[in-house]
Structure formats: structure tokens, C-alpha cells
């Protein structure tokens, strides 16, 4: 048995995936905490106030960062799930093509959400 290799994980090395998962997790936590705090301190939130928040450049940047973090976080997580359960060991010959297909769907969805998210954030 030689070195374990992989070409579909996020950052080539296990350590970089681990780091990306932690960093993106912290960003998402900050974003959720901020939005929760904002809504709690503005109980009678109007559309105009909500729109004003998202028209500020720092909020758009923060939101884009959170979106990118979600994509990275989801990729590292889903990659782990698919390489656990959708494998030749578990499913036989269909394992590898099915895993690559599902990973492709996940990647395409992530890219679509990214484009859509940018359109929303800068379309306000």
C-alpha cells in the first residue's frame, strides 16, 4: 500500500481541507451571529432598513465571503460524505461513476449559487 492520493478533494492535502473547513465554519458562524444580532436589535425591521444594510459595500463583501465559505464548507463536507458512502467498496462497479456524477452536480450547483448570489448582492 502506497501513499493515498486524491484529485477531487478541495485543497489536495488533508490538512488544507481541514483548515478550509475550520476557517469557513468560523466565517459562517460570524455571519449568522451578526445577522441574528442585527435582527434582534431591529425588531421592527422594515424593507428599507434591510435594503440599506445590503447596499453598503462592507455588507456585500461580508455576504460574498459567507457565500464563498458556504461553498467551500459544503464541498469539503459533501466530498467526505460521497467518498464514505458512494464507493466501489459500498456499491460495486457503479460506485466511482456515481460518485463523480454526484460530485459534479454538487460543483455545478455551488457555481450556480455563487453566480446567483453575486447577482442578488450587487443587484440591490
Amino acid at each position: 500500500m502506497g501513499m493515498v492520493t486524491s484529485i477531487t478533494n478541495y485543497g489536495r492535502s488533508g490538512l488544507s481541507d481541514w483548515m478550509a473547513q475550520r476557517v469557513s465554519g468560523v466565517v459562517l458562524l460570524c455571519y449568522v451571529v451578526f445577522l441574528t444580532f442585527f435582527m434582534l436589535t431591529n425588531p421592527a425591521l422594515t424593507f428599507n432598513e434591510w435594503e440599506a444594510l445590503f447596499q453598503q459595500n462592507w455588507m456585500r463583501t461580508f455576504s460574498l465571503l459567507a457565500l464563498l465559505s458556504m461553498i467551500v464548507h459544503a464541498w469539503v463536507g459533501l466530498w467526505s460524505v460521497t467518498t464514505d458512502y458512494i464507493t466501489t467498496r459500498q456499491l460495486g462497479a457503479i460506485g466511482t461513476p456515481l460518485r463523480l456524477f454526484l460530485q459534479g452536480v454538487a460543483a455545478l450547483l455551488a457555481f450556480y449559487y455563487l453566480v446567483w448570489g453575486i447577482q442578488i448582492l450587487w443587484g440591490i
Binding site: 500500500m1 492520493t5 486524491s6 492535502s13 488533508g14 490538512l15 466530498w79 467518498t83 464514505d84 464507493t87
Partner: protein, 234 residues
Amino acid sequence: MLNVSLYRYNPETDEAPWMQDTQIDTAGKDLMVLDVLERLKATDPSLTFRRSCREGVCGSDGVNMNGKNGLACITPLSETVKNNKLVVRPLPGLPVVKDLVVDMSMFYAQYEKIQPYLINNTPAPGIERLQTPEEREKLDGLYECILCACCSTSCPSFWWNPDRFIGPAGLLQAYRFLADSRDTATEERLSRLDDPFSVFRCHGIQNCVSVCPKGLNPTRAIGHIRNMLLQRAT
């Protein structure tokens, strides 16, 4: 009378594994699970399991008792029996050879991968390679592993990727040599572990810690390895 349910499988005669329900008179004694197995084997010699030292040192009789892995020889009935029933199955995740005997090849292959021996290419001194008491202390909680495989076969990550994830037992030993002041192959050892599977399939659920019959903590050792990788790469 204690109700006992045993996993039976003889690949030469059985199409599929089956559970054998039987009863045994323990005469009110708090027997070890291995005693129960021995008594049952006395009446049915075809019952197959591994055992050797019968005192928790050799690591031969790792089995799954009422859903939890452990050594049959040092697990008293009082610790595992619920509702007067004992269910004994082979260690999960490894191919069954017969009844409670599993094929440990994949487990040993992972152990072999971490190079479980001291590597030091500097000329050997006239006496032993000395360690300070502090350096020696770092090996406590690591060297005691008896390779019974209770931990690795309780780990879902090892069940799904036994060929790529080293597993808690192998990683505990990997750290045992990374932590050894006499070993000089730290860099080489770490570079062999920095892929997405070998170490990082551990998600820290600590099944390994809860079943280790020697009270060791593979999850903590894995954390130390991760920190060493992190220190080396940042």
C-alpha cells in the same frame, strides 16, 4: 439462566450468517464473557473464536458484546448484560472467517503503513539511546496498545475506508513514534500522513476512546498528529 445469542457463520456450510440462541447456567456467578464462550464451546466444539492469555494482555479475543467492542476475557457479564441477555458478534467491519473470527489483514496493513518501528540512521552509541524521564513520559498512553482492533472496528470512518484511513489503532502507534525522542524520521512520517484520508478521516466521534480496553485515547493522539502537521505547514 442467561440468554445468549451468538453470531454463527461457517462459510463452508452456511449460505449466510445466523444468530444462535442458547442458554447457560451461570450459577449466579459474574463470569467473564470469555468463560461463557468457553463453556458453550465445551458443548458445541464447532463454535469458533480466538483467545489466548485470558487476561487482557494478548488482544486476541476482541468481540462485539451487546453492541460494544471489547475483550471477552476482561468483560464481566455484569458490565455488558442487559435484560438477562448477552449478544456476541464478531468485530464489525472486517470480513468474517468463521463465527467470531475476523480477517485482520486490513487492520494489520494499516499498522504496517505507519512504520511501527524506531527509525534512526545515526550510528548507534555504545550503550542504549538514552531518554530523559520527560521524553520517556511522552510515550505513556501510547505504547500500551495491544492491537486488539476494538477501536478501529468501532470507527465508522474505518468501516467505510479501511484501505485508506489508517484508523485509531494505527494512528495511536503513528504518534507513538512521532513522539519518540529517539526517532529521526519525523518529517518522513508526517509527509506520509498529510493526505485527505490517512489521518483526516477522523471526525473525532471518540468511539475508539469509549471501547479501548486499555483505557487509551486515540482521538487525543490524532489531535497531536494534526497539530504536528499544522505546525509543519504554517
